[in-house]
């Protein structure tokens, strides 16, 4: 039953917010934050339960009248737990960061909770149909969050976001149907056997179409910068922090067990796509004049590392991918939150108009520098262990072929330091002389991001020990050994 709560609680929250929010901001946000917090606490409880249970997957489901035909089948194990906790955590912060939302606060908070429920259902689904249903359901609240609360070009961006991801997931649906017909089961966790060898590569690439759009890999990424730039801050936090993780999670949870041989065969392609993402994302980030777009392209680069780690196909690689996903969820969440905070004060995201903010508003400046350092992979912060492990595993699998990734690492330092120099350092532009520093609420949010970033940087084993049992099994399925 505990496994159901991360999906059920936000849904109950949606209903209560809609019924009792009544368009009133303080009532809506209070109700929403209570339910988001309760959901987060439940995810921590699940972590404890999973830890006590010796990493055996926890399951819950509604038995249909005919056994084996029910769709509401949930499970949680070491692979989903870190992302479930991350989702619970980021939803709390997303609601907190849109505390002052002006337009229809009731609908805004209800949609955020609805989004949380849908994402939780993706990570917890133990049934291919439920997985797909949840996957698509994520689009609905996100579409409205962007198209109603976003910035200038929000409507076009929302439509593009929806159609792009729908295109991928529609092909994924065909993949799921072909897979389900081949393996004669819909169970996912520990259940999806491999499809028959003849159809494996068809199944894999159909699934990958949906998963890789979501990651996103270059050249399927073009929806991401638009969606990010136009989305409201809470939407950006959820989009970068949680939604992008669905792609990596789906690769590990569904595509790999369903088509291990095709996955192995595709590994070099995935590695190349990852490498392109690392470099292309970094180069484009460096070339941006819009601060939010810069952060958005950095996500493409980070997800490139994640894909590289997965393509190594080893247990350590899969662990590294999970670590990168969790770390990126926190770091990009912090970055988008800070960009949103500065946009709220200046109504611009134009990098060239900033400068000297570090001395004028030191708390913001400090947090901004911290986010940039975390993003470039400073040792001691959460970005470092995952990306290091990713490059190491990539090297042991593909040898010197991955050398160009080194360029990407250097570029990532370059664009992050460029952002720091342009925003925090230099002389203060006269137009921002009476800009206010982060409020107490904003300081709490920033601190809430910073603490786990440092913690994971120092003790990455917290995530790795959770994912280890599952990643060993996955690596064995693929014949990747350690």
């Amino acid at each position: 039953m505990g496994v159901l709560l991360p999906v059920l609680l936000p849904l109950v929250g949606v209903i209560l917010v809609v019924l009792f929010g009544g368009g009133d901001r303080s009532r809506s946000r209070l109700l929403a934050s209570i339910f988001a917090l309760a959901t987060f606490i439940v995810t921590l409880y699940l972590a404890a339960a999973l830890h006590d249970g010796g990493s055996e997957a926890l399951r819950w489901g509604i038995e249909a009248a005919i056994p084996g035909t029910g769709f509401v089948m949930l499970a949680i194990d070491g692979l989903s737990l870190p992302l479930v906790v991350l989702t619970g955590f980021l939803t709390c912060l997303a609601i907190l960061s849109s505390w002052e939302v002006g337009e229809s606060p009731t609908a805004h908070h209800a949609l955020l909770l609805g989004l949380e429920a849908a994402v939780m259902a993706v990570f917890l689904a133990d049934n291919l149909i439920l997985f797909y249903v949840a996957w698509e359901a994520v689009l609905i609240p996100m579409f409205f969050l962007i198209s109603v609360w976003g910035h200038e070009n929000r409507r076009a961006a929302a439509l593009k976001f929806f159609i792009y991801t729908f295109l991928g997931s529609a092909l994924m649906l065909i993949g799921i149907i072909v897979l389900a017909r081949s393996v004669q089961t819909l169970t996912i966790v520990g259940g999806v056997g491999a499809a028959d060898p003849a159809s494996q590569s068809l199944v894999f690439w159909l699934l990958a179409a949906g998963l890789l759009v979501k990651v996103p890999v270059v050249p399927l990424h073009t929806w991401l910068p638009d969606a990010h730039v136009e989305a409201p801050t809470a939407g950006s936090i959820m989009l970068a922090g949680v939604l992008l993780k669905m792609g990596g999670y789906g690769l590990l949870r569904v595509a790999l067990p369903a088509a291990p041989e095709a996955f192995s065969a595709a590994a070099p392609v995935l590695a190349v796509l990852g490498g392109i993402g690392i470099m292309y994302g970094a180069v484009l980030a460096l070339g941006q004049s819009d601060l939010k777009r810069l952060v958005a392209y950095s996500s493409v680069a980070h997800m490139g590392f994640m894909l590289l780690a997965i393509s190594a196909g080893t247990s350590a690689g899969i662990g590294a991918a999970m670590l990168i996903m969790v770390s990126h969820g926190l770091v990009s969440g912090l970055s988008f939150f800070l960009v949103g905070a500065v946009y709220q004060r200046t109504h611009t995201r134009e990098i060239s108009r900033f400068g000297g903010l570090g001395s004028k508003i030191p708390v913001f400046g400090g947090a901004f520098v911290f986010a940039a350092l975390a993003s470039l992979g400073l040792p001691g912060l959460s970005g470092f262990p995952g990306e290091l492990l990713s490059v190491l595993e990539g090297f042991s699998r593909f040898g010197w072929w991955i050398a160009p990734v080194g360029v990407g690492v250097v570029l990532s330092a370059a664009y992050n330091l460029y952002a720091v120099r342009a925003v925090a350092h230099g002389t203060l532009a006269p137009e921002w002389t009476d800009i206010a520093d982060l409020s107490t609420r904003e300081r709490i949010i920033a601190a809430a991001f910073i603490v786990p970033i440092v913690f994971l940087g120092l003790w990455p084993a917290t995530v790795l020990s959770l994912t280890d049992p599952v990643s060993k099994v996955l690596a064995l399925t693929m014949g990747g050994g350690q």
Binding site: I62, A64, A65, I66, T69, G70, F71, V72, I129, L130, Y132, V133, A134, E136, A137, L139, I140, F143, F144, S147, V148, R155, A158, L159, F162, I163, F166, L167, A170, L171, L173, I174, I177, V178, R181
Partner: protein, 479 residues
């Protein structure tokens, strides 16, 4: 059970005929509201009887195998009656206050009855007779909107329908002339797959059905008709006849008259028509600025998805039936929302852009429209998803993966125009010409209530199978 089976066909038919006749009588005696009420109640009763018999009786042939009724056929018929009843209720303001309104309600009831008979028919002659009944009712319903544009659309519909009728009659003449029977069973025994004459008959009859369904390339009447008809009536015209025609095609094609073993070319023809409808409907939909015209083009594409199920042969039987029902409820919900919006904003020009500000003005109608549109797109949590999932699954099972891929790609394109509706409704309303629109209707008008009820049906039907499992749904439809 054998002797109670007839109630699944005769009882609802008798109820509806009686209701329509008494309704018209009451109208003639100037008791308009009572007349419309009688018609609505008879439709609801027919819905109840058909629903109940559908769930309890297996399909059984009647009258020397001229009809078959029960099971999936009755479930489909019950949905037809339900939509007809909702259509009468949605237009209640006109129905209950004008002479024409009651007449239109009666015509809707007769049309629903015709569709029920069409679904149950096992004889080509009966099929053609009821197809004509439905078509004539359709012409009347279209021109009933009044005005020159409605007359023009009705006339075009009538002329094109006349050509289709000609095809059907020619097909019937060929088959009856050569094989000496109009009954499906009789024809089935006599037909020879290699015969060119039989193939000619098949093509003629398929063309006629393609016209009735609004499938490409016989679709050009659909957008005009949907645009000019009163939205409450269009809700019925756009949904119920499609259930009828798809169900009737299921009797004729995959398993019946022109079954896939003897007429493989029939399956190919259906697959081609399906693909063409998906392409033409979706591309046509992208270009429309009028909401109801867009729904007309999208209906062409949706028929294409239904034909995918039909092309899958016997495997796709239940799937096609479920798709027909899910599409019908989805599109009816969309038109009921249009009817409610029209009542709320009489000066609305019917354009998608003209929906601006609706979400702020009447959130509940905007949400109803969101539900309908997402269901038509085939997004999970809404009824339309299950229909599409099942037809695509049956296509893949039948080895027609390319057709399933065409279907999902079509669905993706369709969001290009369905999404515009969502975006428009949630855009700020400042763009409405002449300042703030004055709401003319009261909050709880019957059109709004029907819009909300139909949207609720779509949501319940979309979420329910997740909990009960799809096998429960399939069991409802198992022949």
């Amino acid at each position: 059970m054998e002797n109670v089976t007839p109630i699944s066909l005769w009882i609802p038919a008798a109820i509806v005929v009686a209701g329509a006749v008494f309704g018209l009588l009451a109208d003639a005696l100037r008791h308009r509201a009572a007349g419309a009420g009688i018609i609505a109640v008879s439709l609801v009763a027919a819905f109840g009887v058909c629903g109940w018999t559908g769930l309890t009786l297996t399909p059984t042939p009647l009258l020397d195998v001229t009809f078959v009724s029960g099971g999936v056929l009755s479930v489909a018929a019950s949905v037809v009656y339900l939509i007809a009843a909702l259509s009468v209720l949605s237009g209640w303001r006109q129905v209950a206050s004008t002479h024409r309104g009651v007449t239109m309600a009666a015509i809707t009831a007769f049309s629903a009855l015709g569709i029920h008979v069409l679904i149950s028919s096992l004889d080509l002659l009966t099929t053609i007779l009821v197809l004509e009944t439905i078509a004539i009712a359709g012409y009347a319903l279209v021109s009933g909107a009044g005005g020159r544009r409605a007359d023009e659309a009705a006339l075009r519909y009538f002329i094109q329908g006349g050509v289709a009728t000609g095809f059907t009659l020619l097909g019937l003449a060929v088959l009856y002339g050569i094989f000496g029977s109009t009954n499906y069973l009789g024809l089935c025994n006599a037909l020879d797959g290699g015969s060119r004459v039989a193939a000619l008959g098949m093509v003629l009859i398929l063309s006629a059905f393609a016209f009735k369904l609004g499938a490409a390339p016989f679709h050009t009447w659909a957008p005009d008709v949907y645009e000019v008809t009163e939205p409450a009536t269009a809700a019925f015209l756009a949904s119920a006849p499609k259930i009828g025609a798809l169900m009737a095609l299921l009797m004729v094609f995959p398993a019946g008259l022109f079954n896939a073993q003897r007429f493989p070319s029939g399956t190919t023809a259906i697959a081609v028509v399906a693909a063409a409808s998906i392409v033409i409907g979706n591309l046509g939909g992208l270009r429309q600025s009028s909401l109801t015209r867009m729904l007309g083009y999208s209906g062409v594409a949706q028929v294409g998805y239904g034909l995918i199920g039909l092309a899958s042969g016997v495997i796709g039987y239940e799937e096609t039936a479920i798709f027909a029902v899910t599409y019908a409820l989805g599109v009816a919900a969309a038109f009921f929302a249009v009817a409610a919006i029209r009542e709320r904003r009489p000066q609305w020009d019917g354009s998608i852009a003209g929906l601006a500000g609706l979400a702020a003005e009447v959130p509940v109608l905007a949400v109803s429209m969101v539900v309908a549109v997402l269901s038509l797109t085939g997004i999970p949590l809404f009824l339309g998803f299950w229909g599409k999932l099942l037809v695509f699954t049956s296509a893949i099972s039948a080895g027609l993966t390319w057709l399933a891929v065409a279907g999902v790609l079509g669905s993706v394109i369709s969001f290009g125009y369905y999404g515009k509706v969502l975006i428009a409704m949630y855009a700020p309303g400042a763009t409405v010409a002449g300042g703030l629109p004055e709401p003319s209707g009261r909050g709880g008008s019957s059109a709004s209530v029907v819009a909300v009820i139909s949207a609720l049906l779509v949501v319940v039907g979309g979420v329910g199978p997740l909990i009960t499992g799809i096998s429960e749904v399939l069991r409802l439809f198992t022949l």
